[in-house]
């Protein structure tokens, strides 16, 4: 240990897999989980003479992402070949962008541990193709073989490179979560970390406090969850601190994170990995993005999380915490928005969406877009609390039934006889019966034991099967008990 002597410096490279139907340079499907090599053609197999042609949608998604992260969109950008040999790379080069990426000079705002905002610079965003997938160790003779599936080869990626602006693993996670949320809001990425749709490499170095120059960095690869990224960075910081404490030097290298041991280890055997000999790909003509195109994409941008949070607070009067929970996911935010639009009470709707709705979704593992209780139905239910047809408690029973049957609340209230009793005569009768059956407790109450009041409320509500109007019960009970 000894990391407190050093300042941590982190820069992140995130690979975002785009949700296009087809690959970046050919018409093969990008569907996940198909039989190996069933989604391939001469272009993505890298056969001689095949000509890659750029998927227009990939450019649109890149512009969208660039705008959402405050980047400048390059009027002209160029694809380049990044040359290296690996069995998952059929052409012997990866088509990427190098000198002229499509987006540059952006930033994101994150919240730091102490609650303050911090701006993290985005150096660049460029488009590139993914490599294939290597499978190891299957079958009897697999001992000396690896198997190559090229379905993923040529799948469109955005590489989003941050400035080395983060100073702790928590800041790195905050940045990643923000970026993850944005690409999902934009609809350019499905955000599935396990399937590799959102992958992160972390460049980590440390330096004595006050030193201006960066320390030597290690690049951490192969991390597919936010928790593991934090673990990997924290491990790496300690490792480097130990080296410096012992008077040693950190070596610049690529390290793999092992989620089983929680450690990073040096990745050997990829010598000369930095000598990629980039040059413009002659197969792909330069990309020119007009200001009109950029403007069109800008017009079509969805409302982003930060703007939503601000609007929810301003227009619906809910606390920031609620607004942030509700905006975490775009589908959830739209559900909430639609509910409030029909019902009007922002806080009540927030409580229900974050409470009952979220709980049921979690229990059943259902996406909010597939909720059997739609915003229309939820708003109708809440309306029945407002007009005293049912109490908030009975509303939860009705909600359960709505969830199961998909029926409208009025139908359920009617069929199950759940309508709230506001008739004072009926309530009075129940109260009289409860009092008559519990004379001891009446004495206690009159003797000054106020707590017994709750007992009476409970008994009355129970006798009415929860249908008595709670406000009316309280008022009348008080009168009766005081005798």
């Amino acid at each position: 240990m000894g990391s407190s002597k050093y300042e941590v410096v982190i820069g992140l490279e995130v690979h975002v897999q785009l949700t296009t139907q087809t690959k970046i340079f050919c018409g093969c499907s990008t569907r996940f989980g198909s039989a190996p090599n069933s989604q391939t053609c001469p272009v993505c197999l890298g056969l001689p003479g095949a000509l890659p042609v750029l998927n227009r949608k990939v450019v649109e998604y890149a512009i969208r992402t660039g705008l959402a992260t405050h980047c400048a969109i390059a009027p002209r950008s160029v694809f380049a070949r990044k040359n290296y040999f690996y069995p998952d790379l059929p052409k012997g080069y990866q088509i990427s962008q190098f000198e002229l990426p499509i987006c540059e000079h952006g930033h994101l705002e994150i919240e730091t541990e102490d609650g303050g905002p911090k701006t993290i610079g985005i150096t660049r965003i460029h488009m590139e193709e993914d490599a294939g997938k290597l499978l190891h160790g299957e079958g009897p003779e697999a001992g000396s073989s690896s198997f190559v599936d090229l379905n993923r080869a040529c799948t469109p990626l955005l590489e989003i490179v941050s400035e080395p602006d983060m100073r702790s693993s928590d800041e790195a996670i905050a940045y990643l979560k923000k970026l993850h949320q944005i690409v999902m809001y934009l609809g350019v990425c499905d955000g599935n970390l396990e399937e590799g749709s959102f992958r992160c490499d972390a460049n980590v170095s440390i330096r004595p406090w006050g030193q201006k120059e960066f320390g030597t960095r290690a690049e951490l690869k192969n991390i597919n969850s936010f928790r593991f990224i934090k673990q990997a960075i924290d491990y790496e910081v300690e490792r480097q601190a130990d080296i410096l404490d012992d008077g040693g030097k950190v070596v610049q290298e690529t390290r793999l994170f092992d989620s089983v041991t929680g450690m990073t280890r040096s990745m050997r055997g990829k010598e000369e990995a930095h000598d990629y000999r980039y040059f413009p790909d002659p197969d792909l003509v330069p990309l020119v993005v007009s200001p009109e195109w950029v403007e069109q994409v800008r017009q079509e941008l969805p409302e982003l999380p930060e703007a939503k949070v601000a609007r929810f607070i301003r227009e619906f009067g809910i606390p920031r915490y609620d607004a942030e929970v509700l905006s975490a996911d775009r589908a959830m935010a739209e559900y909430y928005d639609a509910t409030v639009a029909r019902h009007g009470n922002g806080k009540l709707c927030a409580n229900w969406v974050m409470g009952e709705v979220q709980r049921r979704l979690n229990e059943d593992g259902v996406a909010i877009s597939d909720s059997p209780v739609t915003p229309e139905l939820l708003a109708a239910l809440l309306g029945r609390i407002d007009d005293n047809t049912i109490s908030g408690k009975i509303a939860k029973t009705v909600f359960e039934e709505m969830w199961r049957s998909g029926d409208a609340p009025d139908k359920i209230i009617e069929e199950k006889g759940l309508k709230q009793v506001t008739d004072t005569g009926a309530i009075e009768q129940i109260i009289d019966e409860v009092i008559a059956a519990n004379l001891d407790q009446v004495e206690e109450y009159r003797g000054g034991k106020d707590k017994v009041f709750g007992f009476f409320v409970g008994q009355v509500m129970k006798a009415s099967k929860g249908k008595a109007n709670p406000a009316a019960v309280n008022e009348m009970l008080k009168k009766k008990l005081q005798g």
Partner: protein, 95 residues
Amino acid sequence: MKITRAEVEHVAKLARLALQESELDALTGQMDAILDYVEKLKELDTDGIVPTSHAVPMENAFREDAVKDSIGVDKALSNAPESGDGCFRVPRVIE
């Protein structure tokens, strides 16, 4: 000399070329001559000229995001020196 023999060896290694001693000598000479020629081109005044990345004056060749039929696993693997389980089979790349 614009390029050293060690640099030629390095580039050959990156390109996975196994060169004989005599080939290395010959290539070092040839590459040096090429670089000499490029050096001569540098004499031209190219101020204000955008670097030419492509020989054809063309831009923005796009395709729409519509799925086309792939060629099928059998065809995809038909040139593979070795295959198995629907995959290209290669020497094992990790321990």
